[in-house]
Symmetry: C2
Subunit: 314 residues, 2 copies
DNA sequence: GATGCTTACGATACCCGTAAAGATA
DNA sequence: TATCTTTACGGGTATCGTAAGCATC
């Protein structure tokens, strides 16, 4: 058993069992990949992959069990390298933060600025992605920190922390009839064509839920991934918008009005997540602390620990 | 980085940084060991070991961080092999249970008999050891299951479960004056020379505690590792004994009397422990279940899971 | 002087990639 | 037929063990 074999197993699962693709991803030959798999299977004395003739189709049951362990070993191999870097180049390295448009655009600029000042030699990669993609990046180690409102809570491989809470708000073109409705009601909003976020993005679930519970079926004429797009179409008069309130800027968005709406929609909580078992450099803890001062390194490390002292359920 | 290097790092720490010994333990040459360490240090760009001239003395700080990860990787490597065996030879393999004299002699015979019947082809190694040694064996994978009254609870690397509770009892030679004292009191016991367990064995701490709290300082004239030795000397009249009550057998121990003592000493709880992250074969779960029926595979697996669903302290 | 670590060097085994052949869609 | 996997084979590299050289105790 060697690391190349483990990498191959891992990548084979990731790449849908196409060994040619695996070979390319690992910068080696298909023949080598094929042989490595065979060697490992021989060594272990069982088949890891379901085959149909010469094609690989999926994992066998032992393959599935094994794959989980392999993933953890590869994570640890990355961890070893991170630890080494941590000590050889204290303030030098790379930090990958995976986050959504909304956070990258409205919440993080403040944090990134301060982080850059504190760690000028750290290469900060702000990777913009969908919530699902963020989770995937954390899982396979492509990202160190994930920040999003969706998809991060309740995954047992992650530890996540609340970053900040926010509300949706209704935006309308200046002079729109809704401006006169005070206080604003869901019923009034539901009468107009709506433009808001895609499903699975920026609290869209909460919006749908709110209307459903109140018994209204809004006419969502368009959905977008980010508030900038939504605002553009609201300005064009295609409908009224529902966006995260921090996306409205009275200075820039002269043609729009934001209507007080905190009472309409429930609070959303944006979370910061890291993968359990993923080694974090010192400056990664600093980044989290810059987001939310209460999330000190001690707090985060404490939450990452396997379990606090106790002994099972007894 | 390769597995041989990791094994060498691990073994170097275990063997007090004597590379010659490490080489012997791993059945390789000392020169190879030396080179592997150097290669890995070069690859990582830092020193893992504190050196004084040519001698290795200990781990550097990065070495310590790394060592923990290395240990987990080697554990996973063993896990992979266990998983493979699990599937290639379902009812065939080895199970190592590390336990103390008391458990091996009085609690486990019943379990072992039934286990042997159910899994005749599993090689069961019942390894008798001190509580500390049991913990060490679990930690480095030499044992699958540990059973003892001491040293297993409250270690975060373990998950432990209560197996059964028991009390100490006073034993005396037949015809001893104490037989007349009913109910038996600590004060009366403390007036006689005592023979009981060594410190750190079979609830000795609880005995000391009980006397201390009652304000007596018993005269412990002898301590032994197991009840058989204690009983031998009690028979010889060197003193009265305090042993686990299940160690007394009215049939065999004709020359001795056990005095009702449940009210004198608190309850001891013998625990079953397994190491977090150590893969257990199906029959290992069966063994635990034979010990205590409520500890089903589902229960044990549930307790071994990293954490139950939730997301850190928030 | 005994033990222990490092370096040098030659033999071996392992890993990789090319190429050809066989299987699958 | 095009795509994909396996097998065969040769070249290169890394690993291993012997042996010699040097510190440390």
């Amino acid at each position: 058993m060697n690391f190349q074999q483990l990498r191959i197993i891992h990548e084979t699962v990731r790449r849908n069992f196409n060994l040619t693709e695996v070979a390319n991803a690992l910068f080696t030959s298909q023949s080598g990949v094929s042989k490595h798999i065979k060697d490992l299977e021989d060594e272990l004395g069982l088949e890891l992959f379901v085959r149909k003739g010469k094609r690989l189709l999926g994992l066998t049951e032992p393959g599935r069990e094994l794959s989980a362990v392999v993933d953890r070993m590869l994570m640890d191999a990355r961890n070893i390298k991170s630890i080494a870097e941590q000590f050889s180049n204290k303030d030098h390295g790379q930090l990958t933060v995976a986050t959504t448009h909304t956070q990258a655009r409205y919440a993080l600029p403040r944090v990134v600025t301060r982080f850059k000042q504190a760690y000028p030699r750290v290469h900060l990669m702000l990777h913009q992605a969908s919530p699902g993609e963020i989770a995937a990046m954390l899982l396979d180690g492509r990202a160190d920190i994930g920040i999003a409102t969706e998809a991060l809570a309740g995954v047992s491989d992650f530890v996540s922390f609340p970053y900040y809470g926010w509300h949706h708000a209704v935006i309308v073109p200046a002079g729109h009839a809704l401006e006169a409705v005070t206080p604003l009601t869901l019923e009034a909003v539901a009468e107009h064509p709506l433009i808001t976020y895609h499903e699975g993005f920026t609290g869209r679930a909460k919006i749908d839920e709110t209307f459903a519970q109140a018994g209204f079926t809004p006419d969502i004429v368009m959905s977008a991934l980010d508030a900038d797009v939504i605002k553009t179409y609201v300005e064009l008069g295609l409908g009224i918008g529902i966006v995260a309130s921090m996306a409205y800027d009275a200075e820039r968005d002269r043609a729009l009005r934001m209507l007080p709406s905190d009472h309409l929609f429930g609070e959303n909580v944006t979370r910061i997540a890291v993968r359990r078992g993923h080694f974090l450099r010192g400056f990664a803890y600093r980044f989290i602390e810059l987001c939310a001062p209460e999330l000190s390194e001690a707090v985060v490390r404490g939450a990452l620990r396997p379990e606090t002292g106790s002994d099972g359920p007894f």
